[in-house]
Amino acid sequence: MKRRTFLKSCCAAAAAGALPGMAWVNPLLAGTRSGQDVLVYLYLRGGIDGLHLVVPYAGAERVAYESRRGNMLIPEERLRPISAEWALHPRAGGGPGDPVSSPPRWLQRLWLEDRLAIIQGAGMPTHLSRSHFDAQAWMDLGTPGNKNTPQGWLTRYLQSAGPLPPASLSHAFGFASTQPLALMGANQAFTVSNAQEFRVDGFHWSWQETNPDLPGHQGAHHRIQNLWQAGNSSLEQAGRLAAEALADMREMDFAAYQPEGGAQYPDSALGTQMRNLAQLIKSDAGVVVATLDYGGWDTHEGQGIPNPGNPNHFDFYGNLVQGLSEAVDAFYTDLAQSSQGNLMNRVSVVMLSEFGRNVTGNQSGGTDHGYGNVMLALGGRVNGGFHGQFPGLDKGSLFEDQDLHTTVDYRQVLAEALVRRLNLPAPALEQVFPTLGSYSPVGVFQT
């Protein structure tokens, strides 16, 4: 059945009035639920300073950290310890006015519940680039060293996934304006920056909709699909997809959505997008993969040192960390405490960045581009705790005498998510990550 015809049959359910904001929950799947796992690829654009997020707290690495970190050093008493030797940036677990001893929130709470995995030494061991744009393109395309790959890694996953449960909307959502590289070439991905405002509604009211009370009257907005119907250029194909996305998503009321479990999404682009994504997942829209971006991490200048307990202290990096932590925590809570059950048991979020930053800060209170980094994963079927191997801050362990090294290929973590959570047969990884070599899972995800 065509997606649109299918949807029309759903509109009866909408009229009957289901949950607010979920007007057209797929009646065929409701109750049975597809049970399909979802992978969320959340990219921290700009090169997050992982050493500022997961910080040596005690032991030999702390000693090396103190000797090398320069003016970017965070004193122990300003950190939130999560193990004997490691601590989180305080804003991952509390607001600017919260002392580090205050009850853990957000990422720190999820860590305590064993739902957060921290992968040390992640990056691209096979290739080096300190260029944002090359490193991002390599990672998003899944082909380190090559940015001319025509398709993103998620596109190739969708092509090699085999039969997925039918999607009432789409298997792939890119929460972005311009087409995300990870979904480049995916001819079914819905790329939507703002779901609430994704509708053609500007025509004069007299011709916006068809008026059933006037014989012969035909409105304008649904004709856009007809205008793009013919032709096979890539523009015309893209236009048809956009017109279809508009028509399909018009049925969803994103503004009326009520998060569950007391989840509080921050009032930010990321918060809104994660909220929209949670709604799509609950609505069984067919989401299998989703991409989101959270940028601002290119902190060459004024990166900031936290001063927890002081609400008036400005901390640029800390504000970013809190913005991320609050958003993913709300997303987790909303899905884990859904009336449909713990949906986080089939949702995994991975967070990564193009590179880490130089260990020693510069003279403008910031850090320049580096190499190895941390990567995070979150979900009900994630093995919480540390993974990978910290590459070491002693001189002999540093990369080119200045940066953290890499010990884990980021693709191994993504590959593991595909195999263990999305049930991709391991041999199909050859299509998704053609230059990965052998698959060696890190142990982040449960089967």
């Binding site: 300190r130 009257h217 793009w228 032709g231 200048e301």
Partner: protein, 567 residues
């Protein structure tokens, strides 16, 4: 130029508004018209009938007409643009003529109680660029200005950048957009906005900040294709010009060292605490400059203070990689997403030979536009949202004087809808500037939000039932004064021809006619003149039911056609 599988409809060119040119000899063959339209769609913000007629009057064949048109456009300062300037002058903008010191005094140091004040300089620059795209006669020049803003991107709406953005646009980009790249680079390197955006204002000895140096090499000049990752000087081979063929991280670090001390008079606590150190101007602070020799693209630079950065810029500007990198971007912008390598190569020869010429960029653009690739009608571009919006306004005689902070109707709404397309003016956060390939600009989000904007544009009007921004009704009744011509068929054909030309897939034309006629006969005249601008409600007679609105809606739908999305 575009081929369509379903064949094309014959659209009557009757009444296309060219009457003023009718007594002049022009080649009106379909081929000549199609070529003129193709060139003008590609190298301007929209081909209007008067632009096509002017183009056709410029010579005896397409090659000659193209050459003359390009020559006219490249000599942009000789083109009288006072009518466009008058529109800007009468819009009431306050910041566009302020010096950097005045911008600093008024919008950085000045009274901050009125919150938009700080953002007026970027807001008014954005407003003026829309007027210019729509009304300037210097169309190619304005497209180059847009290109260089992408190339030397700064996030215009950032707190530190917004109040000084006028300088970046007016003093760094615009004077050099068709001039000399080395001069533009110097001006950009000293632009207060750029010094803030890429942090060079904080780049000082004892711990340089690489941000500007890296993007200078990677994005602004040599390009990442010749980046050899690695933090140590070493094995990048030299080219025949005595320069290393590429650069490494070690080059980036040494370039950063050369630029230490290039900062802003921003009242920094280490500067003398006198007013002349708090003016917002560029300033070389020698005590922040890192001593010692530097090694850049295979050349030793002896300690020379501020001169080191000048020498670095000379090396970069005469480098072959810079020529290739920028010429590929220019060809991508103006020819196609995958431009012919031969054209990139020949353009970069011109670029490099002329690197010290005052009209270097104009020469390169002349080379690109007069090339066989353009003459043969090769290539195709998808309009980015800004070009879409500008084309809508330009082709419908848009009367616009945008203001960001003067209410919702009409400009607040217009600019907000436009921003949702993902192409808002000076809003790209990363230093690589807005992308320039169709694959990035044809996402569901971009197209959906563009259509949302286009669905609204024809309805936008000045407050208190003032005139509409787009002159759709006026153009229609001027061209087709006789009410018997107001049939769905004739109205659709006239507007199709004006907005996209004769090459339209026939089923799309029929869809438009079907909408415009509703349940009336396609050849039955519609009553456009009862109660304009909206028309009157009439349950029983669709030929009179909100017909002026329906006409505008139909024009909106033309603007949403695939044919309108290409240039």
């Amino acid at each position: 130029m575009d081929q369509f599988a379903g064949g094309t409809s014959a659209v009557s060119p009757a009444g296309d508004g060219d009457r003023i040119f009718a007594d002049r000899f022009v080649d009106r063959s379909q081929e000549a018209q199609a070529f003129a339209r193709g060139v003008l769609e590609r190298f301007s913000y929209g081909a209007r009938p008067e632009d096509i007629s002017h183009f056709l009057s410029l010579g005896n064949d397409s090659e000659e007409r193209l050459a003359n048109w390009v020559a006219e456009q490249l000599d942009w300062q000789a083109m009288d643009d006072s009518a466009c300037q008058a529109r800007i002058d009468s819009a009431g903008y306050q910041t566009l003529n302020k010096s950097i010191t005045q911008l600093w005094a008024d919008h950085v140091r000045g009274n901050q109680s009125n919150w938009p004040d700080r953002y007026l300089p970027v807001a008014e620059t954005d407003a003026a660029r829309i007027i210019r795209a729509v009304h300037s006669r210097r169309q190619l020049y304005e497209m180059l200005v847009e290109f260089w803003h992408d190339h030397f991107n700064v996030a215009g709406w950032e707190f530190s950048i917004a109040p000084v953005f006028v300088q970046h646009d007016r003093d760094a980009i615009r004077p050099n957009a068709l001039g000399n790249f080395r001069e533009m680079l110097e001006a950009v390197a000293k632009s207060t906005a750029m010094l803030y955006y890429l942090d060079n204002r904080a780049n000082r000895s004892g711990g340089y900040n690489e941000n500007w140096a890296r993007e200078l090499m990677e994005l602004h000049t040599m390009g990442v294709d010749v980046y050899f990752p690695g933090a140590f000087h070493g094995a990048i081979p030299p080219g025949d010009d005595g320069l290393a063929i590429g650069y490494s991280d070690a080059d980036v670090y040494d370039v950063a060292r050369c630029f230490t001390g290039w900062t802003v008079r921003n009242g920094h606590w280490q500067f003398p605490q006198t007013p002349e150190y708090d003016t917002g101007e560029f300033f070389y602070h020698s005590s922040w400059h890192e001593g010692g020799s530097k090694f850049v693209v295979g050349n030793w630079l002896m300690p020379a203070g501020q001169q080191e950065a000048h020498e670095v810029m000379n090396l970069l500007c005469r480098h072959r990689a810079t020529a290739r990198h920028i010429c590929r971007k220019l060809c991508r912008r103006f020819v196609g997403d995958e431009p012919p390598d031969s054209l990139v190569e020949s353009a970069s020869e011109v670029w490099r030979d002329q690197w010290q010429a005052p009209d270097q960029i104009a020469q390169v653009m002349g080379h690109i536009i007069n090339s066989d690739a353009v003459l043969q009608g090769q290539g195709s571009k998808v309009r980015r949202p800004f070009e879409l919006m500008a084309a809508c306004m330009r082709k419908t005689g848009g009367e616009i004087q945008p203001h960001h902070f003067q209410g919702w109707q009409p400009y607040g709404e217009m600019l907000s809808l436009f921003q949702q397309t993902g192409h808002g003016g000076f809003r790209w956060p990363a230093p690589d500037g807005y992308p320039d390939t169709a694959a990035r600009w044809t996402s569901a989000s971009v197209l959906g939000q563009s259509w949302r904007l286009l669905s609204r544009l024809p309805e936008l009007r000045l407050p208190n039932d003032g005139p509409f921004l787009l002159r759709i009704y006026e153009l229609t009744v001027e061209a087709l004064p006789d009410q018997s011509d107001h049939t769905a068929t004739k109205l659709v054909d006239w507007w199709l021809h004006r907005l996209v030309g004769p090459e339209v897939l026939s089923q799309r034309r029929l869809e438009l006619i079907d909408f415009l006629r509703q349940n009336a006969d396609a050849d039955q005249p519609l009553n456009l003149t009862t109660n304009p601008p909206y028309g009157s409600w009439s349950a029983g007679n669709m030929s009179a039911h909100y017909t002026p609105v329906r006409l505008r809606t139909m024009v909106s739908m033309i603007m949403m056609l695939p044919e309108f999305h290409r240039r």
